[in-house]
Symmetry: C2
DNA sequence: AATTATTACTTGCATAATGCAAGTGAAATG
DNA sequence: CATTTCACTTGCATTATGCAAGTAATAATT
């Protein structure tokens, strides 16, 4: 593979990207509260590395100086097809996760991904 | 995600699956010789776990009793879309890896994946 | 038939990655 | 101005990984 793909090859990075993409997570706290078992130092490390690889970026929250807002970059949102296929694969082969989401993806993959990109672009314009 | 997706979240598993899918790797030795830095115990561990998750399976080589032949299961070959999107993403955002392969994938994703499945099915019939 | 080589591992040990609890500094809240 | 929140960092124990060496089973060579 290559450097960036290796970045994805760990327990948390894909999860972080997925939840930014599909659940709108944006802050350290949201990840921390959501993932059981993630260590604080590891979350900090992964966020920094994802920034380093150009997959996400961070900026201070204009409304709360303590917070950092993380966002997917273009490179990050371009992982939408990978994540989508991964969710569909998991759904097909065992999971019973978010059936509504899976339905949306399966019915019209292109449309689903276009919507993901649309939401992302709207977020960008605010930024 | 789920259990199987977590299995993919490590440094070697996706690489193993990719090389079984796209490069026709089938034996411990092929992986061992190809991956610099993989430890023998880790390769053994990953192969066993991938079997455990139903992503690959193994059988003795009928022509050489020392060898085990590993093959992707249906669940494993169903990762083709994930791997394809990952290779395309990497190619788009930095790598210069296998340009010929990337061209094939980009030009007609469906056709490419159909061919991957076809090769796999042919291998199954021999088994 | 006996020796050597190959294959797919396992074992032991050192190093690196991770998890957990506690602590820090800056900004917000009461 | 004391307390809380937020995004971390630090120290230490546990787990995972890398490396070198060893093993059992089969195959090839002499």
């Amino acid at each position: 593979m290559n450097a960036s793909v290796e970045m994805l090859g760990d327990r948390w990075s894909l999860l972080i990207i997925r939840d930014m993409m599909l659940r709108g997570f944006r802050t350290y706290k949201e990840f921390m509260e959501c993932y059981e078992g993630i260590a604080t130092n590891i979350l900090a490390d992964r966020l920094q590395k994802l920034v380093g690889f150009g997959i996400i970026e961070s900026k201070p929250d204009p409304e709360d100086g303590r917070k950092l807002i993380y966002r997917l970059t273009r490179k990050g949102i371009d992982l939408a097809p990978v994540l989508t296929e991964m969710v569909l694969w998991a759904a097909a082969h065992e999971d019973t996760g978010n059936q509504a989401l899976v339905q949306l993806m399966r019915q019209d993959k292109r449309k689903f991904m276009a919507e993901v990109r649309q939401r992302w672009a709207e977020g960008q314009s605010q930024a």
